[in-house]
């Protein structure tokens, strides 16, 4: 590191402090946000961190800013620790500064500092993650992200009420979702969602589009876990359609969940969509549905099991089996019809056993009868089983009803 004189260090710190104070008094949120951007690695903040290393007693300089001192003093400590790569210390200091800033923010009647409050919310989450990684690699309990969640909840409380600050609440809600999904405590999302969705004082459409897209992505994922496929379809489709056109990474993430949802209601993605977004792990699943190839479905699920389990869509895909069976029986029916239309609506259970044996699935006639009973019960097949004759008698009208965008009935 180049030599840094005391004088220069002093100058850099006082410069930072007066910029902060000026930004507050002139209500310049963008200028203020830059000063909070701890993890932005800006040259300005890095130079400041160097200065803080040289000039240890920066608190003396802060004293002049009586009202802002409670923010500035821990904020400088945070920037110094961050510059030294001590993330836990940096987080602890930032949380102090953030609480003091939230206090001020609450007292300001207008929402002028919203952008800065949101920067603080983002930084708190990012620093907590770094701190937790540091803590667990030294064998300590990683608890900072949980702490960040509590702080963000306080910010959310300050915004979610009636008033001009409400437009910023959705951003903080999304930061909370990210924390809860990472910690595996997604049930905590519920109270946040309730507060967003039940409020009649604010129309959802008035929130900024980027926050609406993020919100719909996370709540859509929650609906996938709860197997509410119609609502999941709505939310994820909203996210996809309104997503920033250039953000292919986020569109891919939305599709990762939207595709299984669509499949479960009988809608297939076009092949180019899977190619474009590199989601080819769904290719074989789609082919299996098209063909009625139950073996291919099972192989595809086995091959990508880890990936599907990690994103939580494995169970959704596993349930596609019934649709694949439906397609297979329909193929048998169509082939019979080709040969002899008059007998086509009678399908021998033995024929299904044979087809499955060809697909390397050993099932006896009782098991096949059981599957047929399920297909009939779920209205994927219309007809009845003549148990004595070991035959499925298909309805002459619409024997294989399409899902038409509705989930398989439970």
């Amino acid at each position: 590191m180049a030599y840094l004189s005391m004088g220069e260090a002093h100058r850099r710190i006082t410069d930072y402090l007066s910029r902060f104070s000026d930004a507050v008094s002139s209500q310049d949120a963008s200028a203020l946000s830059v000063l909070f951007g701890v993890s932005s690695n800006s040259a300005f903040l890095q130079a400041l961190a160097d200065a803080l290393r040289v000039l240890q007693d920066s608190d003396r300089l802060v004293e002049r800013y009586s009202q802002l001192a409670e923010i500035l003093s821990p904020l400088l400590r945070c920037l110094q620790s961050y510059g030294l790569g001590r993330y836990t210390d940096a987080y602890v200091a930032l949380e102090k500064a953030a609480n003091a800033f939230l206090q001020e923010f609450r007292n300001w009647e207008t929402a002028w500092a919203m952008e800065s409050m949101q920067t603080v919310a983002l930084e708190i989450r990012l620093l907590a993650e770094k701190a937790d990684r540091e803590l667990s690699s030294s064998g300590k309990n990683p608890e900072k992200l949980q702490g960040a969640g509590s702080f963000l909840m306080k910010v959310f409380g300050a915004l979610a009420g009636k008033g001009p600050k409400r437009a910023g609440a959705l951003y903080v809600a999304c930061q909370l979702f990210k924390v809860y999904f990472k910690l595996g405590t997604v049930h905590l999302c519920r109270s946040v969602i309730r507060s967003i969705e039940t409020a009649r004082i604010f129309d959802f459409e008035e929130f900024p589009v980027k926050d609406k897209v993020t919100y719909m992505y996370y709540t859509g994922r929650l609906e996938v876990y709860n197997e509410n496929f119609l609502v999941a379809d709505q939310k994820l489709t909203y996210a996809l359609m309104h997503c920033c056109p250039e953000r292919e990474d986020n569109k891919r993430m939305i599709l990762k969940y939207l595709i299984p949802v669509k499949l479960s209601i009988g809608i297939l993605p076009k092949q180019w969509l899977l190619q474009k977004y590199n989601l080819v792990e769904y290719s074989e699943v789609v082919t299996a549905l098209r063909k009625g190839d139950i073996r291919l479905l099972r192989n595809a699920l086995r091959e990508h099991e880890d990936r599907f389990l990690r994103s939580g869509v494995f169970l959704v895909l596993e349930k596609l089996e019934l649709q694949v069976y439906q397609r297979l029986i329909k193929k048998i029916y169509l082939l019979q019809k080709q040969k002899d239309p008059s007998k086509a609506h009678q399908v021998k259970l033995e024929s299904i056993v044979k087809a499955l044996r060809w697909l390397e699935m050993d099932m006896d006639i009782d098991e096949v009868e059981c599957i047929m009973a399920i297909l009939i019960h779920k209205n994927l097949t219309k007809g009845y089983i003549a148990h004595k004759n070991k035959v499925v008698v298909l309805s002459k009208q619409d024997p294989f009803p399409k899902l038409n965008g509705k989930p398989v009935s439970s």
Binding site: S33, E115, Q118, T119, L122, R133, S136, S137, S138, G139, P142, Y171, C174, K178, K182, L183, G184, P208, V209, K210, V213, T214, Y217, Y218, M241, H242, C244, P245, E246, R247, D249, N250, M253, K256, Y257, K262, G266, I267, L268, P269, K270, K291, G292, D293, R310, S311, R327, K330, K331, I332, L334, L335, Q338, S351, K354, A355, W358, K402, N404, G405
Partner: protein
């Protein structure tokens, strides 16, 4: 530092225990984009009328052969 003597606790890999692989990437604070209706023709992305009556694909032809050969054996 005083705590340096402590051995690295490698047996407790809590890192990323609940990691979310699919964390949505941040949009810039204050970022906006043209949120228009056009370019949202979802019919180009999805297909709901795929469940046709076509049995001339390889899979169906193979299935047909299997069904017939087996029934002749009987």
């Amino acid at each position: 530092m005083a705590t340096e003597a402590k051995p690295a606790a490698a047996e407790d890999p809590k890192v990323d225990l609940f990691d979310d692989d699919d964390e949505f990437e941040e949009f810039e604070i204050g970022q906006e984009w043209d949120d228009k209706e056009e370019g949202r023709d979802t019919t180009q992305q999805w297909e709901d009328d795929w469940d046709d009556d076509d049995v001339n694909d390889d899979f169906s032809l193979q299935l047909k052969k299997e069904l017939e050969s087996n029934s002749e054996k009987k």
